[in-house]
Every structure is written in C-alpha cells, then in structure tokens.
C-alpha cells in the first residue's frame, strides 16, 4: 500500500541559486509541457529513419533483411540509452576519497526523517529517497538528482542536480535538494538539468530496486492528481 507523501506548498521566495543560471527562463507548467513535447518529437525523429530503413530494405532485396534487423536494434536501443541516462540521476552515490562515517550518515538520516515527517521516515530509511508532492507533479528526490512524475503518473522527467559539497553524508545531500525544492519548486526545476523526459515504464526498467519502489509510490500519488 502506498504510504502518504509529503505535501509542499508554494512559497513566495525564489531560490538564490537562480543567480548562477540567469540565462535560463524560469520553469513553469507550459515550459514543462513544451519540454515533454520536444523530447517526444526528438525520439520520433531518431526512430523514423531506422524503422523506415528496416521496412524498406527487405522490400528492395530480401537479402537485406539482416541490415533491417540491425536497424530495428538501433531503433530500440536509442530511447533505452536516453532512459538509462535519466535513471542515472537516482543511481547510488559513490564517495571517492572520503571515509564513510557511519555516525554522520545516521545523524543526517535523522534530520532528513525530521524533515519528511513520521509516516514517510520508514521509506526514507529503506530507500534513501524522498517522495514530495508539488505543483508540477510528484517528485522523487535522491542524493544527486530528482524525478518528476507528471500528473496522471504516465510520464516522468529526470533532473540532474546536486549540492556543491562532495563530503556531505548522502542523506544530507537529499535533505539539501528537498529543502531547495520546498523553497522554490520552479526555481529548483530551472537550476537542475533535464536529462530525460519520457514514459515511466521505460525508466522503471533502468532503476535500482529502491528507486523502483520510490517511483511506484510517486506514480501512485501522481495518478490521483
């Protein structure tokens, strides 16, 4: 059964980090829809030549069936590669050159648990991810990025964003992103880099089991919106 998720309310303030990306237009709902459409168009543009090749070649000469199989493999692989890139934002973080401090991780997880409330704390401890409802959909926040499940639960956007301090405990990194998201959702989506937009099912296969569990909760919450 899906557990309740955190509820975020819009705040008037803007994210201070927007100063570092002044050239970007602040994200709003039409901009997100535009991004979704552009990603779909881009995928179609990638697919059509390969699929057309796969159909046309055997008609010209049956011996070219082998080439058509390769064309179909490419047609399948290209969106999968994009989805893998999107799933990368929730890949477990490796801390190179820094000793893992178990006490620090526990303390950081305690603070993160305080931020999300009692009911979501168990899921945070299990998956390391936070589900947060926003105006644009339902967010799944990890230490190095976030997924935005759009209302209806069919489409997802992947954002690569991180705190500028590699020595922080992993739960603290999640807490940083969560607080920034709560401060200014549109600003958060503006600062972050969009790495994938597409169907939830395509992304799901590329996620780790904890991230898949988090995505299922986010999708369930997004379906009711």
């Amino acid at each position: 059964m899906a557990q309740p998720v955190g509820v975020m309310e819009a705040t008037l303030g803007q994210l201070p980090e927007l100063e570092n990306v002044r050239w970007r237009t602040r994200v709003d709902e039409p901009a997100l829809r535009r991004a979704d459409r552009l990603w779909t168009l881009s995928t179609v543009a990638h697919e059509v030549p390969f699929v057309a090749t796969a159909i046309a070649l055997p008609l010209l000469a049956p011996v070219l069936l082998v080439v058509s199989v390769f064309a179909l493999v490419f047609a399948w692989a290209i969106p999968e590669l994009y989805a893998a890139r999107g799933a990368g934002v929730l890949r477990p973080v490796r801390r190179r050159g820094v000793d893992l401090n178990a006490d620090a991780e526990v303390r950081a997880l305690g603070l993160l648990g305080d931020l999300v409330g009692h009911e979501a704390r168990e899921r945070v401890a299990r998956t390391g991810l936070v589900v947060e409802c926003g105006r644009f959909g339902v967010w799944l926040v990890g230490p190095a990025g976030a997924l935005l499940v759009r209302p209806g639960g069919r489409r997802v956007q992947c954002y690569c964003v991180r705190v500028v301090d590699a020595d922080l405990p992993i739960a603290d990194r999640v807490a940083h992103l969560l607080l920034a998201l709560r401060e200014d959702e549109a600003g958060f989506a503006t600062v972050a880099n969009l790495t994938f937009s597409g169907a939830c099912w395509r992304l799901r296969a590329r996620l780790s089991p904890p991230a898949r569990e988090g995505l299922a909760v986010a999708v369930a919450a997004a379906r009711g919106r």
Binding site: T11, V106, C160, V161, D172
Partner: protein, 74 residues
C-alpha cells in the same frame, strides 16, 4: 525551543537554541546565522507542515532553521 542547524560532514550540527523570550539565546542564534551566511551557507526556515522559506535574518517564530550549501545542475 527553536533550533539553528547546519548540515555538514558530521550529519548536522546544532549551532544555537532560542525562544522568543530568551534574549541571550536569540542574540547567539542571530550571530551564528550571520556568521554562517557570510561563509556561503543559505538559511531555510523549515516548518512542520512541509513548507520551507529562504531567510536572511533569524525568524523568531520558526521552529527549525537549517543552513544548507548551494545546489547546482549536475
């Protein structure tokens, strides 16, 4: 009792406690907040209902003020 917390390599550090009627605690919290803002931290007042607001001065009525580092697109 309100808390000023800094997220750092130890998980987090409680820098100050205060309550509206505790002048010494409030002044200590103000000083700590200013010092951390000067070091490049950003302050966020986090409320139990899940709202968060960026602050530059100590909000006396906030239960929890968290100091965080800036974020950036990866």
């Amino acid at each position: 009792m309100s808390r000023l917390i800094r997220m750092d390599q130890t998980g987090h550090t409680v820098l100050a406690h205060w309550s509206p009627d505790d002048l010494a605690g409030t002044e200590a919290a103000r000083a700590a907040l200013e010092a951390e803002l000067d070091r490049g931290y950003l302050a966020v007042a986090s409320e139990p209902d899940g709202t968060a607001t960026a602050v530059r001065e100590l909000p006396l009525d906030a239960e929890l003020v968290v100091l965080r580092r800036p974020i950036a697109g990866g």
